[in-house]
């Protein structure tokens, strides 16, 4: 994997800083790096060509030449140009006024349509309070119907299925009628994966489209797609005129350049990003965040949002009160730990912090097992011990170590670290900033 483009640009243009000005040839050096990085991020080469031309023009504008810290300036210009290329601001899925509103899913095999359909159903239900039906029109892939039934139920949506005997068009029509009589707000139609060059299957998709007259046709695109994304999207755009894109599997380490290419070539907005196996791993798409991802600049907004979603406000108030009164116990620590872990692996959280994304710290393997052990130790304590760890004597330590499958040494360490943490928090509440470095060293 390449280092972050942002870092690379800073390094490339570092010597310019001493001169204090950015010259045309500096920009060309930077553009070479940009071109390479974008190609490695799977941005389509034609898009890269026009993009670098655009950046060149912007960079040659008076606002950069003669600026201090030109590296920063160029990174900023690239980030802005990327954001613009992806549509500027986040766009919403519009569902019109007719009920049920119909959303048709389309895409290649294995792009993640069925999972995305269920995730979208869940999102519309949980966030917008809509009642959602799912139509099982993938009658081709073995067991696709069963899969949709299973994930649809998890999502709290009604799944309309007729097995695989009826064709996709007929099933779609029937499901629409059922959704209508059940007074659903939305019907999401799952379809078979198909190659954009498969005339027969593309015709079927067109027929389904005609039969259900969707408000929105969504193309599901794998974030790991390479240069071919443009050919795929153009063919789907031409034949079924999709309205927006769902980028799937964004939790991998793909930079997602394919998404950017598709926006540039078809001019359809990217509406959602799908990450991970769990049904709630589905978010509205934010172009500026994607730009930062491609640049390797971290994604602090997503992190903030994650924290906001996962952390219960009343819990937070209660926690603050406890901190102020110095009543923070191991139980509270455990619930904090669980809360943080709900947001994802520590590694993925670290990756979202700007400046860390390309950094060694973010690449460092965070030992999730260590956290498991800490949890196990606390869970092996009695409520009394969790409130007052100072009562934990030798024989209690042995019991806890045995109960948690760890060692007395590990129990000792945790209790010691917890004591230090309490001290740190008292300091924070009192408004003093403690020496974190010294504390970390002590804790080892």
């Amino acid at each position: 994997m390449f280092d972050s483009l942002a870092d690379k640009l800073q390094a490339t243009l570092a010597d310019v800083r001493s001169r204090g000005t950015l010259r045309e040839q500096d920009i060309d050096v930077a553009l070479r790096e940009i071109r390479l990085a974008l190609l490695e991020a799977d941005v389509n080469f034609k898009v890269v060509r026009s993009f670098t031309a655009d950046v060149r023009e912007r960079a040659l504008g008076a606002n950069v030449i003669g600026q201090l810290n030109p590296g920063h300036q160029v990174v900023k210009i690239v980030a802005e140009a990327l954001t613009d290329l992806m549509g500027g601001t986040a766009q919403e899925l519009t569902l019109g006024s007719r009920r049920p509103a119909v959303v048709l899913m389309a895409g290649l095999q294995g792009s993640g349509k069925t999972t995305a359909a269920a995730k979208l159903a869940r999102l519309l239900k949980e966030q917008d309070g809509l009642s959602v039906g799912l139509a099982a029109c993938d009658v081709r892939r073995p067991a696709a119907v069963e899969q949709l039934v299973a994930v649809g139920e998890q999502a709290g949506a009604t799944v309309y299925e007729q097995g695989v005997e009826k064709g996709a068009v007929e099933t779609a029509k029937w499901a629409l009628q059922r959704a209508h009589s059940d007074a659903r707000d939305v019907l999401i139609v799952d379809t078979s994966g198909r190659l954009h060059v498969d005339a027969e299957l593309m015709a079927e998709l067109v027929a389904v489209r005609k039969a259900v007259k969707p408000h929105a046709v969504l193309l599901v695109l794998d974030a790991m797609t390479g240069q071919d994304a443009v050919a795929v999207a153009s063919a789907f755009a031409e034949q079924v005129a999709f309205d927006g894109v769902i980028v799937s599997k964004l939790d991998g380490d793909a930079r997602g350049g394919a998404a950017l290419s598709v926006k540039a070539v078809t001019d359809r907005p990217i509406l959602f990003s799908s990450t991970g196996e769990k049904l709630d791993a589905f978010e509205r798409f934010h172009p500026e965040r994607m730009a930062r991802r491609i640049l390797g600049m971290g994604d602090v907004l997503s992190l903030v949002e994650k924290v906001e979603r996962e952390v219960d406000e009343t819990d937070a108030v209660e926690l603050e009160r406890k901190l102020r009164r110095n009543e923070f116990t191991l139980d509270d620590f455990l619930s904090q730990l669980k809360q943080v872990r709900r947001m994802g692996s520590l590694g993925s959280l670290l990756g979202m912090i700007p400046g860390l994304a390309g950094n060694r710290l973010a690449k460092m393997d965070v030992d999730e097992g260590e956290l498991d052990r800490v949890q196990a130790i606390i869970l092996s304590m009695t409520p009394g011990e969790r409130r007052r760890p100072e009562i934990v004597n030798g024989s209690r330590r042995r019991r806890i170590a045995q109960g948690s499958g760890t060692s007395v040494h590990a129990v000792n360490q945790l209790i010691k670290q917890f004591g230090q943490m309490q001290k740190l928090m008292r300091g924070l509440v009192a408004g003093k900033m403690p020496d974190l470095g010294a504390l970390m060293r002590q804790a080892r």
Partner: protein, 345 residues
């Protein structure tokens, strides 16, 4: 390079002496004869299919290169060539290396005109696809264990279905398939349909059960029935998820404990539409469980699967099989020369 199934699979039939197979018992000789008769027809049919499928693939790329065919080899040529390779997902570093080499050879007077260039290009690409690792699949163990892994949606289950059919129905081997994807909804049902079509045995566990246990049971069942091959399916997983990679490593350990030296083949499915990320996939999967071969799937679209080249040249993992469609016979042994020609013709 493997061109046909007999080149791909190493089997016990002819021990050391190639004549031994002919001298074997009547039944075996008859089936060998049958294979000999049906093989050319079969390969003609499949190659026509592959050609047809690849024709669509070629159009875009073909236009790029054809245009340069009879021109002088100048700056413009190299630029176009570079773009054509990039468009095929060959990746920037590999592309740069190939183009640089051709440029040097042209400057040295070794290449004249577009035709020589195209031929030499195909040669270089085929060379890149070639690795020091064996490009065959050894089936001589009883049972031989084939572990199949890959990212979600790359075509593991479909590949296993086709492979089981090839091994069981076409080559007459006793095959046991292990339904190791105990995670995804309806994954076992999907595999069940495929194994029914292929008419081979399926060993499954409960949804959410330990995939290692399913592999264990399948190997036990294969031994009890004297099966020839065990094909182990696994759940799709992103290579960045450490705990899932650890799970995969465990499945491998369970298999290795059962049969020393197993799995005899570990196949990683890579979607031909995958871009640069394919190299990362191959690298990280290899760290969890040494991958001995790539299955390049969905080559029947417009994607060229060029990512196979950096995987072969950087990681030394050869492509062994390609998927070119959804029918049972649409799994083929990989042929580097053919692949290289398809990339550039």
């Amino acid at each position: 390079m493997a061109r046909d199934w007999d080149d791909l699979f190493i089997r016990d039939l002819p021990p050391a002496d190639p004549d031994a197979a002919h001298g074997a018992g009547g039944g075996e000789a008859a089936s060998a004869a049958n294979a000999a008769v049906s093989a050319p027809a079969d390969s003609r049919r499949v190659f026509r299919r592959l050609r047809e499928n690849l024709t669509r693939t070629r159009q875009a790329l073909g236009a790029e290169i054809q245009a340069t065919l009879f021109e002088r080899l100048d700056e413009h040529t190299w630029e176009r060539l570079e773009e054509a390779l990039i468009a095929a997902d060959v990746g920037a570093p590999t592309t740069a290396a190939v183009v640089e080499r051709l440029e040097r050879e042209a400057a040295g007077g070794e290449l004249e005109g577009g035709e020589q260039l195209t031929a030499r290009l195909a040669e270089l690409l085929a060379e890149l696809a070639h690795t020091d690792a064996p490009d065959t699949i050894d089936l001589r163990s009883r049972p031989a264990v084939i572990l199949v892994c890959g990212v979600n949606g790359t075509g593991k289950t479909t590949t296993i279905g086709k492979l089981a059919w090839r091994l069981g129905r076409e080559l007459g081997l006793r095959v046991v398939v292990a339904a190791g994807d105990t995670f995804r909804a309806a994954a076992v049902e999907q595999l069940e349909r495929w194994t029914q079509r292929a008419d081979v045995e399926l060993v499954k566990g409960a949804r959410g059960s330990d995939p290692g246990a399913v592999a264990f049971d399948a190997i036990g069942a294969a031994r009890a029935r004297g099966a020839d091959v065990v094909v182990v399916d696994t759940a799709g997983r992103l290579h960045t998820q450490d705990h899932l990679m650890a799970e995969l490593a465990k499945v491998r350990r369970v298999i290795a404990k059962q049969i020393p030296g197993a799995p005899h083949e570990t196949l990683l499915t890579i979607d031909a539409t995958t871009g640069h990320n394919g190299v990362r996939q191959a690298k990280l999967f290899s760290q969890a469980t040494p991958v001995s071969g790539i299955v390049l799937t969905k080559l029947d679209g417009t994607a060229k699967g060029g990512v196979a080249l950096p995987i072969a040249s950087e990681l030394g993992i050869p492509v062994k099989l390609i998927g070119v469609g959804e029918a049972l016979e649409d799994l083929r042994p990989f042929d580097a020369a053919e692949f290289a020609r398809a990339l550039v013709s």
